[in-house]
Structures are given as C-alpha cells and as structure tokens.
C-alpha cells in the first residue's frame, strides 16, 4: 500500500534507459512464454516489437504493467523503481500506461467521461468523490479530443464508436494519463488505410517527450514509424536493429517463413 504515495515525475533516467528488463522468465503450466528475456528502452524512444504469434509480446506487456509476475528476472523503471514490487494501479501512477490489444474503453460512458477518468490526478476514493474538473483540466481534455479527432463525438457513448475510433479513444486515454512510457498493443488492428496513416503520425509526434513501445503485426505500419525494431521469438529477443537490418536477417526470415 506504500506504493500509493509514490512520487510521480521522478524517474531516474540518468543512465539513459527508462525501462530495464533483465533475464525475465515467465512460464504457464510448463510453457515458457518468456525465456530469459532482456530488453532496454531509452527515454523518449519509439520502439517496435514484432514477432510471430506466441513469441511473448503480450506477456511482456503484462509483466511490465504488473498483470503477470515473472518467475525470474528483474524489471526496473528508471534506475530506482522496482516494478515487480508494485501492483497495477501503482505502476500506472508511476507513469506507465497501456493500451490493450482489444479496445477496452468504458462503453457506457461518453467519450469525454472516458478521458476524464484517465486524467492524471489524485485517484484516491474521497478525492474522486469530490472531484471537480478545473478549467485547465477541461482544456487538456479538449486538446486530447482534438488530437484523437473525436472532438465532435465528445458526448457520444463510447460503445457507439466505430472500431477505429475506439482505438483512438484508447490512445487518447493513454495521453490523458501523461505516462512516461506508453505500451501500445496493436494500435492499427481493424483500421482503414487513412486511419493507419493518422495513427502513425500521432505516434511519431509522441516520441521525444515519451517512450513508446508498439507491438504490431502490420509490417508496413512498423516500417513507417520504427527507428529500432526488436524481434521476439519463443520468449526471447531474436535480434534488434533498424527495420532494414531486421528484415534482411536470415534468422528473422526463417522464423517468419517457417522451417
């Protein structure tokens, strides 16, 4: 419970990386979802994770956000914050936000209310009961509504949005949390070509102020945004590099095309 009081905005990135995963292993009933995986994400970088189904991409996100506890290894946020000691709300409060593969917006609430709930503020029970939006917070919500192109549908129920719009709202909720690290699982699944392009622009505009980790199957999309790509295979890092390097790596070709 001490994690509640964790100071936000004080992640020690003096050594470069903001996220450290070292020797992380997770197994489910004997199946090794992650196998001695090590990964470092720099402050402000945009990293793409690719890999065939079952490579461990989603498990990796589960470990970072506290949903799954690894059997071995260590996960650090900056130099000092041990994520394995925190639970989901505490990790979120520390500054790691996550967008799920399947859109999971709050369908009964309006677009505006979805963003309001995600807003970075005191999320204790009593402060929430008496919460009133300040004009600065309203402006912040409007700003995000503009960014995600949903300003016209702000009072619409989130459940009535199209699939692509829900994905955008998810990203908007992430932005409202003002995280230092954003984990984005399959942002363009089910989007039209135009929507994919806009998503790429949005994600590119975020790098620098935030670290963004994107898991995606759409290779064309990955090519359009990625500087560095990490390929996962059978729960560990197969290779890392630019998209061109990765695509020409014979091991990657073998993994993707099968033996």
């Amino acid at each position: 419970m001490t994690a509640l009081a964790l100071p936000t905005g004080e992640v020690d990135t003096s050594h470069g990386p903001i996220l450290y995963l070292e020797g992380v292993s997770v197994s489910f009933d004997g199946f090794k979802a992650l196998n001695n995986l090590s990964l470092y994400i720099d402050e402000g970088e945009l990293r793409c994770l690719i890999g065939p189904n079952g490579a461990g991409k989603t498990t990796l996100m589960d470990v970072i956000t506290g949903k799954t506890r690894p059997d071995n290894g260590s996960v650090f946020f900056g130099q000092t914050i041990d994520l394995l000691k925190l639970d989901e709300p505490a990790i979120a409060a520390a500054g790691i936000g996550r967008k799920f593969q399947k859109p999971s917006v709050f369908e009964k609430l309006s677009v505006f209310e979805n963003l309001e709930l995600a807003l970075a503020t005191n999320k204790g029970v009593w402060p929430t009961l008496f919460a009133k939006l300040t004009s600065i917070q309203r402006e912040r919500i409007d700003e995000v509504l503009l960014t995600i192109g949903l300003i016209e549908s702000r009072w619409q129920q989130a459940g009535d949005l199209s699939h692509g719009q829900k994905q955008w709202l998810e990203i908007g909720m992430l932005l409202m949390q003002e995280p230092k690290v954003m984990l984005i699982d399959e942002p363009v699944a089910g989007m039209t070509h135009q929507e994919i392009e806009r998503t790429a622009q949005l994600l590119l505009s975020l790098q620098g102020e935030r670290s963004v980790i994107v898991v995606e199957h759409d290779m064309e999309f990955v090519r359009s945004i990625a500087k560095r790509v990490t390929v996962l295979h059978e729960g560990s890092v197969l290779t890392e590099g630019t998209m061109d390097e990765v695509q020409n790596d014979p091991r990657v070709i073998q993994v993707y095309l099968g033996d």
Binding site: E88, A92, Q177
Partner: protein, 317 residues
Amino acid sequence: MFKQFYEHDKAAFWLLTLIGGIVFLIPTANIIFPEESPFHVSAYSISIIGKYLTFALLGLSLDLVWGYCGILALGQGAFFALGGYAIGMYLMRQIGTRGVYGNADLPDFMVFLNWQELPWYWYGFNHFWFALLMIVLVPGLLAYVFGWLAFRSRVTGVYLSIITQALTYALLLAFFRNEMGFGGNNGLTDFKELLGFNIQSSAVRACLLIASGLALMLAFVVSKWVINSKLGRVITAIRDQEARVRFIGYRVELFKLWIFVFAAVLAGIAGALYVPQVGIINPSEFSPLNSLEIVIWVAIGGRGTLYGGIIGAVLVN
C-alpha cells in the same frame, strides 16, 4: 429551482414527488377522516406502507452495489437485519419492568434463560443515540471487514455472490442460538415504547412512516449525487471493465469497498425503520432467501437506475 430539477431529471422528480406525497397524505388521511369514511387510512395500513418504504430503501441500496458496481451481493439482507437488531435491542431495553417477568435490567428471554446480568454487548442500548450509532456502525463495520478481505483478494463474480450468501447464512445460524443473547429463535419482540411513546399508537406509526419516507428520499438524493460524481463513473467503469480501471491507476478494491459499505449502511437504516413498524425482529431476516428476493426486486425494477430498486420493492410486495 424545482423547474430546473424537473427538466434535468424527470424520473427522479416524479419519484421524489410521489414519496413526498405518500409521506404527507397517508398520515393526514389517518387523522382527518373518521374511521367509517372511505378515505380513512387505518393504522395497520400505515405500517404496511411504511414497511414498503423501508423495503424500497433496501432495494435502492442493492442497486448501488449490483446495478452500478456489478457486485452481485447476495447478502444485503444481513445488513438490513443487523440494523433491525440494533433498534430492536433499544426497544427491548425500553420495556423495562413491563415485561412478563418484570425485570428492570434484563429482557424477558434472558430471565427465562436464567441469566443474572446483561451481556456486555447490550450495554448502551438503553440510550437512543447509542442505538442510532450502532444502526450505522455495525452493518458498516461488517461490510468493511468482509469487503476488505473479499475485494483485496480479488474475489469477484459468482464466488463473491456465494460467500455473501454464506455470510448471511452464518449470521442466521448464529442468531438462532440462545447463547448469543439475541433472543434466539423468537428474536426480539413485544416492544412497548419508542422514545417514551406507545409504539402501537397511530401517531408513532405515522411518524415512523414519515421517517421512512424521508430516509428514502434523502438516500435517493445522496445516491444520485454519488452516482453523478466522478466516483460514480469509476464505479460504472469497474462494472464494465474492471482490469482497465486498474491500469489507469485506480485502486479498484477501495472503490468497491466504499460503495459496498455505503450500501450496507443504507440497508442497516432500512432495517432499523422496518423493525418498529412490524414489531419484531428474528433470525429469519438473515435467511439467504430474503437476500435473493432483494435481487429480484432490483432486477424487476431495472438495475442501474436507482429508482429501479424502489419500484421493484414496492411492486413485488
């Protein structure tokens, strides 16, 4: 102000008007019209209507936890019964020497059991203010401890429903035991006075009806405010996407606990208003079936509406 309110929320406006009307008209009809008049409302009918109002409050309390937060609590009746026992203990102490055995210190059933002195947990119940405090504290505290254990270990769905049934069943068995000191099988009854007034009189019955109506209206307004607050939206979000709420930084278990305790307190108040109007509280109020019935009220009235629990409770009864 009324017009604004009416336009803002018509259903709530009419519901409050209706309850207000009942609270005002029924006692008036009892007093003004002579007994032979067709408009006369008997003291018996007053108690019946008052009883329904307390059921409505109980239905409202379950709608908060189930309708809004998605916790299918099948033990809401336990909190109702505990509130009832708290006021029942006060009413027993008021009997004084007018009991069958004429013992000023001990209720009849204790004399019957050959007890020599009042058990410690009956201390204080000769004061009305103490009973009022217990009506709120006992159900609230039980809900707090139970909810803290259950929600912290992330017991949800049907498992939570089952342990809430187990909770009320355990209390049923405990209160049946004579050694518990709550009158065993027979419970607490034969009440004489409430605050020094004859509890059977029309005036006291009318006052209890008014108190029940006002408590219901107040609970409705406060619940409405809670549901319209940001906390209300978090609660609804927990119902629809519990895991997601955690990932945006809310401690889901604390929010569930808050609404669970709030609803338990409302149920306790309902029970405390119910008991003086029916004149008895016994362990059957803890029966698991009672708690299931409350679920049916809310289901029929419409869950997640606040007035659903109220309408359902009245309709079914």
